[in-house]
């Protein structure tokens, strides 16, 4: 594959001007993830809200991330996808993203569910970049689990 596909414009845009960056208050859960091989790190905060139907909704995701363009862009795209969504739907997107990224190219990603995040499909071809693309998503996954436990 071409580098132009791996580093799609949308990815470079997000990495240069990440959305929702910075750590904000208030938050219900905070997690820290590192990529032990390359030293990339992300600290992520999640604020949730109890909706009318009783389920949790993602009110805000804020973060401080250090890493390559793939990992930076990936956490940025994620915040766009999950903020305002129900936690359940956010977790569905998470699962779909993880499936795409670890499919070695077999799964092009569901654009309806993942939106811009399908631009990361190319990462699946590069096993050593998979963990970059997943760093922020893993942090969110853990934060969501924490928020669910505390809200229960």
């Amino acid at each position: 594959m071409q580098m132009n596909d791996l580093y799609a414009e949308i990815i470079l845009d997000h990495s240069r001007a990440p959305h929702h960056a910075g750590l904000r208050e208030p938050f219900d859960a905070q997690t820290h993830q590192v990529n032990p091989t390359c030293g990339d790190e992300v600290t992520l905060r999640l604020a949730v809200q109890r909706g009318d139907s009783g389920g949790l909704t993602v009110q805000d995701v804020s973060y401080d991330a250090l890493g390559c363009s793939i990992s930076q862009a990936s956490v940025s795209v994620m915040t766009d996808l999950v903020i305002g969504e129900s936690l359940t739907r956010a977790q569905q997107k998470l699962a779909a993203f993880e499936a795409m990224i670890t499919s070695k190219g077999a799964d092009p990603g569901d654009e309806d569910l993942l939106g811009d995040a399908v631009a990361f499909a190319g990462v699946a071809q590069y096993p050593n970049r998979v963990k970059c693309a997943l760093l922020g998503w893993k942090a969110f996954k853990l934060a969501a689990a924490q928020a669910e436990v505390s809200a229960a």
Partner: protein, 426 residues
């Protein structure tokens, strides 16, 4: 589990033997080599050598670390080998397989990691008042590390003795395995007697008192279908070089939920999460237990050995080994003055045939056998307490591989008779 290939070549056949070039050798002035030392270390088939070589000449690089294609490929081969080994021994997931330098390293890993246990890992810790149980038939590799752990921690070592008919003495089992027992470390198969202890029963007994079970599976994995999950042992160790694979690689199997909290043993690169000058944190298994550059090419070759064994079919492999064992037991017992150090029939026993020859020291027996081209092992076979139990300091031992033949067993029996004649006649 092992898939039986119904058109697999007959074990010990010319076709199988052709895979092991060393078997064409002659020794001691032109005598054909009769290699009956596979229990010490097995020979390697050409396909295992080729798999390692192809990997090295086409795909070799540092695993887990690189940002380049070769490193990706090497990592894929390495992790592929882990998956193969996991399937071969009945692990629930590849992450339950840790590549080590060998079975001895695997057993030391467990013993030292227990010794490092504090805090979250307190369930592994042992100390004064705690008991570690072994057996009198253990290989030194599954005895000395526990002696040392007891020395370091103040725990007490206890053991199951042996009966006159070469079995574990379980008559006082409830005095040996007690609520103080923290660890039961035992062999799946004696490398001298061939005896198979009742591993599943003892594992259940140990679990009833909350103890962890560490299995030395060195002698069983090479010639019997293995399912550690079904057996329910907590940890198990075995070596590549006894199962048609290379030296320099071994395996520690561990239940994932235990590995997840077990403290590290060797520390260094690739097992850390974050490193500061004054402290470090560690990542999840299996990487936590694979510090530094692992035995990459050896693991790949071990994967190929597992494929080869699977193609032969592990039940064929076992049947073949036991057939030769039966022949050896019969043939040797029939010689006056020769006795088997171990059960004399194939019932509940594996294929290690140790024997004693009246009036001739095992080392002298081995010398005469060697002169006839028959390679056996002599000495205490790293099981000195076992030998002491039976009032001898050493024995001779024949062990068999997938390439061994009935003719070779006959050659062994002839050579033992020849040794008797030699010493009687002079």
């Amino acid at each position: 589990m092992a898939v039986v290939a119904h058109d697999s070549p007959e074990l010990g056949s010319t076709r199988v033997r052709a895979d092991f070039p060393v078997l064409e050798r002659t020794v001691r002035g032109g005598k054909p080599l009769v290699y009956l030392d596979s229990g010490a270390t097995s020979q390697r088939p050409v396909c295992v050598l080729d798999a390692e070589q192809e990997f090295i000449t086409d795909h070799y690089a540092a695993v887990k670390r690189g940002a380049h294609q070769l490193a990706d490929e090497a990592t894929e081969y390495y992790e592929g080998a882990r998956a193969k080994v996991a399937a071969f021994v009945g692990a629930r997931r590849p992450e339950e397989i840790i590549f080590t330098a060998g079975a001895t390293a695997s057993l030391n890993l467990v013993a030292y990691a227990f010794g490092n246990a504090t805090g979250d890992a307190a369930r592994f810790a042992v100390g004064p008042g705690d008991e570690i149980v072994v057996t009198e038939m253990e290989h030194h590799a599954n005895l000395v590390p526990w002696q040392e752990l007891c020395r370091r921690t103040g725990a007490t070592l206890k053991w199951f003795g042996l009966t006159d008919d070469f079995r574990l003495d379980l008559s006082d089992i409830s005095a040996v395995i007690t609520p103080r027992t923290k660890v039961l470390a035992l062999t799946g198969e004696s490398n001298v007697l061939g005896t198979l202890p009742p591993v599943a029963d003892l594992t259940a007994a140990a679990h009833r008192v909350g103890a962890l079970v560490v299995l030395d599976a060195c002698q069983s994995v090479p010639h019997r279908a293995t399912d550690f999950a079904a057996l329910d042992v907590d940890f198990a160790a075995f070596s590549g070089h006894k199962m048609l694979g290379p030296t320099g690689v071994g395996v520690l199997y561990g239940k994932y939920e235990l590995l997840a909290t077990l403290p590290p043993f060797l520390t260094g690169g690739s097992m850390i999460e974050v490193v500061y000058m004054d402290h470090s944190t560690y990542i999840a298994p299996p990487a936590r237990f694979e510090a530094g550059t692992p035995p990459v090419t050896q693991a790949v070759a071990l994967g190929a050995a597992v494929d080869y064994l699977t193609d032969l079919g592990m039940d064929h492999v076992e049947a073949h080994a036991m057939e030769l064992t039966g022949l050896a037991l019969q043939g040797l017992s029939a010689l006056p003055g020769v006795s088997i150090l171990g059960p004399s029939t194939t019932a509940n026993r594996g294929p290690a045939v140790a024997f004693l020859v009246d009036g001739i020291h095992p080392h002298d027996v081995g010398q005469l056998l060697d002169d006839a081209g028959v390679a056996v092992r002599v000495g205490h076979h790293c099981a000195w307490p076992l030998h002491r139990r039976y009032g001898v300091s050493a024995s001779s031992r024949a062990t068999f591989g997938v390439y061994s033949t009935a003719d070779e067993v006959a050659a062994l029996v002839d050579a033992v008779a020849g040794a008797q004649k030699f010493f009687a006649g002079r």
